[in-house]
């Protein structure tokens, strides 16, 4: 997914501000902790979000991402730490006085009001806006979310996707400094989800609002985000662009959480500045890594190889000593665009390989069940993590 890079060029996020140590963070979360009785939902989280970013908090259920979002919105108080928005401390600011708006997971549209009134609700709470101003802004935002013909309808007369756009419009019309989205695409079907993902990005670029999105769907995070923060058990485990998270995970958890991965435990036997070798009993061989890794010699490490980076061959390759293993194809899942092969190797481990269906092959050309195959991968493919 190269979207983050392409977007970073043409967007307000100039030169990736998170790389610039002098850049001012728009949203600063400093050592925030939230306890519910004995249970620590958010544990000492620190985070910087820059203006115009789409920042995704990604994690499974119960990892604290929703609690963090609610603290940003003002619905939960902080047990300790502080949150700054555009330099202002949000400690004692109630939700109705923050320049933050939220798009709820259930949309929370007011059932007794029309789409127009729903959207106008937020504007009516602001001082100094005349009726005409409000009407204009409502019409404009309806144009942007493409719901102009539905202005007089009530929420129960709309489809799920339309309701979602009303919720988005209602939050955006107030031109908040920060927009929080709680699982925005969760309730939509697949086709609609993809279309809406791109629409969301376009709208964000058009309006330049800073987004913080909470999701458990890594596909959503990868598509939408300029940066992703992976959370586990109340802590931020890794922050990076989608590419960095996917290609360079720092822990086993992150490697395993995003996409699928084949994890081989092993011992670091050769550790040089520009290459390394790992002896893995799980694999039954040597893993050669063509870049330097930071770890103590002889340490136990895990080498993660993504399924799409593994090649399946019918004949053994030239070098069978490293980055190579043979096994038997146990399962094949045909997904249309790719096929997933589960290959069982001698040590008993099952390796997952993804191959794109490039050519239409006949039955004897295609790899079938119970075939003995050779798996191989390039030295740049494994990512080594030590925790």
């Amino acid at each position: 997914m190269q979207m983050a890079e392409r977007r970073a060029d043409k967007n307000k996020i100039k030169q990736e501000p998170w790389r610039d140590p002098n850049a001012e963070a728009y949203v600063r979360i400093d050592n925030v902790t939230k306890r519910f009785g004995d249970f620590v939902a958010v544990n000492n989280v620190s985070l910087k979000v820059y203006k115009g970013e789409i920042f995704c908090l990604l994690g499974g259920s119960g990892c604290g991402k929703s609690t963090l979002l609610r603290m940003l919105a003002g619905f939960e108080t902080l047990s300790s730490g502080s949150i700054y928005l555009d330099g202002q401390d949000m400690a004692h600011v109630p939700p109705y006085e923050r320049a933050v708006n939220m798009m709820f997971q259930s949309y929370a549209l007011f059932p007794h009001m029309t789409v127009e009134k729903n959207i106008a609700f937020g504007l009516e709470q602001e001082k100094g806006l005349s009726r005409a101003d409000i009407a204009t802004r409502v019409t404009d935002i309806l144009e942007i979310v493409k719901l102009s013909p539905y202005a007089a309808r009530k929420p129960h007369q709309l489809s799920g996707g339309q309701r979602q756009r009303v919720a988005l419009a209602r939050a955006l019309v107030k031109r908040p400094k920060l927009l929080l989205l709680d699982e925005p695409l969760g309730a939509l079907d697949r086709k609609l989800r993809e279309a809406t993902q791109f629409e969301l990005i376009n709208i964000q670029e058009q309006l330049g609002v800073t987004f913080i999105v909470v999701t458990h769907d890594q596909e959503e995070a990868m598509t939408l985000a300029s940066r992703v923060g992976v959370m586990n058990r109340g802590e931020i485990v890794q922050i990076g662009t989608p590419t960095e998270i996917y290609e360079f995970p720092m822990t086993k958890f992150v490697a395993d959480f995003i996409g699928s991965v084949n994890m081989f435990e092993g011992r670091l036997v050769e550790d040089l500045p520009d290459r390394a070798r790992i002896q893995s009993d799980e694999l039954g061989g040597i893993i050669y890594v063509d870049h330097g890794i930071s770890s103590a010699p002889g340490a136990t490490v895990w080498a993660a190889v993504r399924p799409e980076k593994i090649n399946i061959l019918r004949q053994p390759p030239a070098n069978t000593a490293e980055n190579c293993v043979h096994g038997v194809v146990k399962e094949i899942a045909y997904m249309g665009d790719v096929s997933i092969y589960l290959v069982k190797i001698d040590t008993g481990k099952t390796i997952r390989v993804t191959l794109p269906n490039v050519e239409r092959l006949s039955d004897d050309e295609r790899i079938l069940w119970d075939e003995t195959v050779w798996l191989t991968w390039h030295g740049s493919s494994p990512v080594v993590v030590s925790q």
Partner: protein
């Protein structure tokens, strides 16, 4: 079609089924299902015990008063010797109702008492229903029990209890005089004040329960959304909770207003003797004057008067049901 099995129900049935006009058998087959039979039971009950008595009362209201008769009214439908049916409908009972000052002032007083009792019930009941709906689930059951508990005791006894509280040498006056807050006992019995207390006290659960039922179903994230959009707690309540609770308000209000108009016991025990509510007039007309036509006319007039609120109630109930179906 295996729903109706004519053979089982006897030769008469079979006869009608086989030799009756085709539409009859179709009709029978379609309608004699178990489902319809079950609905028929309460339907027939209501017909026999509500519609028929209503029609009888309606008939009597058009009759002429016969003081010495048993029953004390002239027959409305009379068969004459020639085989002709004589129908005599008099509307003078109704005329009397709407012209006699006693009745007119009683109508107005009854409506006034019912209306203000409803407002008081609303003012007291809404906060209570809201508090119960927002309470912890563990305490909620207890609070609801406390609201319903009075129904387990006799209504009459509860009204009598109020006499004991409100009378000149009753509990309230004794406490207040004992504490030195008043010198002379307050005259609370046999006043409109006492009637209001009695009605509000007795009908409060009828206001609380429908309101609670409505408020309990509210989606609280709507309030969060309202706050997120800039509305403070009070504004959120006024623009989100209150409009959504309107069906509950209407239901509760009508459940209080409609019976309160025809309230008999409370004004008789606690109320004024110089200003009577309409139900008392009806009872007096029936039992003391033995003027059945006039009493019947009062009953019919009361019903017609309340038809409009009842229709509003029905309309809102239907809307609730429709909304819930979605």
């Amino acid at each position: 079609m295996s729903r109706a099995q004519p053979g089982r129900l006897g030769p008469l049935w079979t006869f009608f089924f086989r030799y009756g006009p085709p539409r009859w058998s179709e009709y029978v087959l379609r309608n004699l299902s178990g489902q319809r039979l079950v609905i028929a039971v309460p339907y027939i009950w209501l017909l026999v015990f509500f519609l028929v008595p209503f029609l009888i009362v309606l008939k009597i209201s058009f009759a002429e008063f016969a003081p010495m008769g048993r029953p004390p009214y002239e027959p409305v439908f009379d068969w004459l010797e020639e085989g002709a049916l004589q129908i005599k409908l008099l509307i003078h009972s109704y005329e009397y109702l709407f012209n006699e000052p006693l009745y007119v002032s009683s109508w107005i007083y009854s409506l006034k008492v019912a209306f203000f009792s409803t407002l008081l019930c609303l003012a007291l009941g809404y906060p209570m229903a809201y508090a119960i709906a927002r309470s912890q689930p563990s305490t909620r059951a207890l609070l609801l029990l406390l609201v319903i508990l009075p129904f387990w005791t006799s209504f009459l006894l509860r009204v009598y209890a109020w006499i004991g509280l409100l009378k000149t040498d009753g509990v309230i006056n004794n406490v207040l005089m004992g504490m030195g807050l008043i010198e002379q006992p307050l005259a609370m019995m046999n006043t409109s004040f006492a009637v209001y207390i009695g009605i509000v006290y007795s009908y409060l659960p009828f206001m609380i329960l429908p309101l609670y039922s409505n408020l309990e179903k509210h989606d609280l994230t709507l309030l969060e959304a309202a706050q997120d959009l800039g509305a403070g707690p009070i504004k959120s309540f006024l623009r989100v909770t209150l409009p959504l609770s309107l069906p509950g308000v209407v239901a509760g209000s009508l459940l209080v207003f409609i019976p309160a108009v025809g309230e008999y016991v409370i004004p008789s025990l606690l109320g004024r003797s110089d200003q009577l509510m309409i139900a008392r007039l009806l009872a007096d007309e029936f039992f003391l004057n033995r003027d059945w036509p006039k009493a019947s006319a009062v009953a019919i007039a009361m019903l017609l008067l309340l038809v409009v609120p009842i229709m509003i109630f029905q309309h809102f109930q239907n809307r609730e049901l429709q909304a819930q179906k979605k």
